[in-house]
């Protein structure tokens, strides 16, 4: 973004604040939303617990670091095996390799449930299409 020398302060001020907005957005995009993070934290704590804003912010940073850390491990594996795409199994493998093997069971169940939902949804679409076709033929 170029700012010409003879623009008045007002315009320069607006340009600067627009750059700050852009940087703010870029910052936020490397973190998961604080509301979602906070909700998960709250869910695991007793009802009388309070959570400071700085601990939520710290947690946001930690989660992004976690994603990067595990993704790097998974993508290194793909590179060594000459594969271009990091898939779900690579992420699971990386989690286990890095010491998060307790996560494996719950993740497998979660994936299974997700796949069931996807199949149900595909079937509903299929049924809906069949019904539409029947009605059209009548």
């Amino acid at each position: 973004m170029t700012v010409e020398k003879n623009m008045d302060d007002n315009v320069i001020g607006r340009a600067a604040s627009s750059i700050n907005d852009e940087n703010f957005i870029k910052e936020q995009e490397r973190l998961l939303p604080i509301a979602n993070v906070g909700r998960i934290m709250k869910g695991i704590l007793p009802s009388n617990a309070k959570i400071s804003k700085d601990s939520k912010e710290t947690m946001q940073e930690c989660v992004s670091e976690f994603i990067s850390f595990v993704t790097s491990e998974a993508s290194d594996k793909c590179r060594k095996e000459r594969r271009k795409t990091v898939n779900g199994d690579d992420v699971c493998w990386a989690l286990e390799t890095l010491g998060f093997d307790d996560f494996a069971g719950p993740i497998r169940r979660y994936l299974h449930r997700y796949r069931e939902i996807e199949v149900d949804r595909a079937n509903q679409d299929r049924v809906r299409n069949i019904v539409d076709d029947d009605q059209r033929e009548a």
């Binding site: 995009e29 490397r30 973190l31 998961l32 939303p33 979602n36 993070v37 909700r39 998960i40 934290m41 869910g43 695991i44 704590l45 009388n48 617990a49 309070k50 959570i51 400071s52 700085d54 601990s55 912010e57 710290t58 947690m59 940073e61 930690c62 989660v63 992004s64 670091e65 976690f66 994603i67 990067s68 850390f69 595990v70 993704t71 790097s72 998974a74 993508s75 290194d76 793909c78 590179r79 271009k84 795409t85 990091v86 898939n87 779900g88 690579d90 992420v91 699971c92 989690l95 890095l98 010491g99 998060f100 307790d102 996560f103 993740i107 979660y110 994936l111 449930r113 997700y114 939902i117």
Partner: protein, 119 residues
């Protein structure tokens, strides 16, 4: 990535439903983790959405134990830092929480840490 409709109903239903965390954002963060990362399959962010949830829960639980040890009911950043230093699998986070921070890992011996977490 599609997310509306079917899923929003399930999220409000609780933990059986998918995606407490936005998949598109997870994918963005994955892409930023290195030049190596070129293509990401559809399921990888989904695995992460659950893994991140479990990660947050584990770190929060341990941080809470630290706060309780200090007889406090409010979770603070230092509690998170202490829990990180005390837990092997969170070693990769030590630098993240130690920059310009009041917590000094050398103040706590491994034995003291274990005591904090077991109480």
């Amino acid at each position: 990535m599609r997310q509306a409709g079917v899923y929003s109903g399930m999220v409000s239903g609780g933990r059986t439903g998918p995606h407490l965390l936005p998949l598109a954002r997870i994918k963005k963060i994955m892409k930023k983790s290195g030049d190596n990362v070129k293509m990401i399959s559809g399921e990888a962010p989904i695995v992460f959405s659950k893994a991140c949830e479990l990660f947050i829960e584990e770190l929060t639980r341990r941080s809470w134990m630290v706060a309780m040890q200090g007889k406090r009911r409010t979770l603070h950043k230092d509690d998170v830092a202490t829990a990180i230093v005390a837990t092997d699998i969170f070693d990769f986070l030590v630098d993240l929480v130690s920059s310009g921070n009041s917590i000094n890992p050398l103040d706590f011996s491994p034995v003291e840490m274990e005591t904090v977490l077991e109480s």
